[in-house]
């Protein structure tokens, strides 16, 4: 079974703090993704990475950055957290293009910025 784990299930941070969300997958997948999930908006892609040290902006990258130093780990960084970044953050991974493209999701981190 593919396992995608996220460092925290719940996180409360103050406005202006720097926030790190960590994601680790154990299936040697090339591609990893960060989404945020908000009611009525579905999943919106923040950033994705198709290889170590490679990243591409998704649909809503503003206010976020990412880091992929190792294949199994993909970090999402909020440089200066704001209240509009209160959301559920989901990490996902998927294998090479020759595979089924099924994304495997982590349990999510519910971030509250006060």
């Amino acid at each position: 079974d593919v396992k995608v784990t996220q460092s925290s299930r719940y996180l409360v941070k103050r406005t202006g703090e720097k926030v790190f969300l960590e994601c680790v997958q154990d299936m040697d997948h090339e591609n990893m993704f960060w989404y945020r999930q908000d009611p009525g908006l579905g999943l919106r892609l923040i950033y994705f990475s198709y290889d170590v040290k490679m990243k591409e902006k998704g649909d809503i990258p503003e206010g976020y950055s990412v880091s992929r130093e190792k294949k199994e780990r993909f970090s999402l960084i909020l440089e200066s957290a704001s209240t509009n970044q209160t959301s559920m953050y989901l990490c996902a991974s998927v294998g090479d293009r020759g595979t089924s493209y099924e994304q495997y999701f982590g349990p999510g981190t519910r971030l509250t910025v006060t």
């Binding site: 579905g42 999943l43 919106r44 198709y50 998704g58 089924s100």
Partner: protein, 115 residues
């Protein structure tokens, strides 16, 4: 821009009722299609997927979906729902153009089943 539309935001049914959740996408080329489900407090998990072949796809827990290319649709169905089907359902499409397997998700449909 490519998009996925789920027109039903919240569906409420009684147990044993039949279910159909709509999904339409706006891309004219080859697509891979998915339905994901998120039960309360749980991970998003794959319900079923379509890549090619038979346009009627069977998934887990009695769900099925039909790909109708001419209508750009991939509707999810279940003949008789149970209370345990209460969840949020997401339709998704992958586009075979980038170096990563980017998936576009619909906004989701919340399904509530009355016991």
């Amino acid at each position: 821009a490519q998009s996925v539309s789920q027109h039903n935001h919240h569906v409420i049914l009684s147990e044993a009722a039949s279910l159909e959740l709509g999904c339409n996408y706006s891309y004219g080329g080859t697509v891979n299609l998915f339905w994901y489900v998120q039960y309360p407090g749980q991970h998003l998990q794959l319900l079923l997927k379509y890549f090619s072949g038979d346009p009627l796809v069977k998934g887990i827990k009695g769900f099925e979906a039909e790909f109708i290319k001419s209508k750009f649709s991939f509707n999810l169905r279940k003949p008789s729902v149970q209370w345990s089907d209460t969840a949020e359902y997401f339709c998704a499409v992958t586009l075979p153009y980038s170096s990563a397997s980017k998936i576009i998700f619909g906004s989701g449909t919340r399904l509530s089943i009355r016991p």
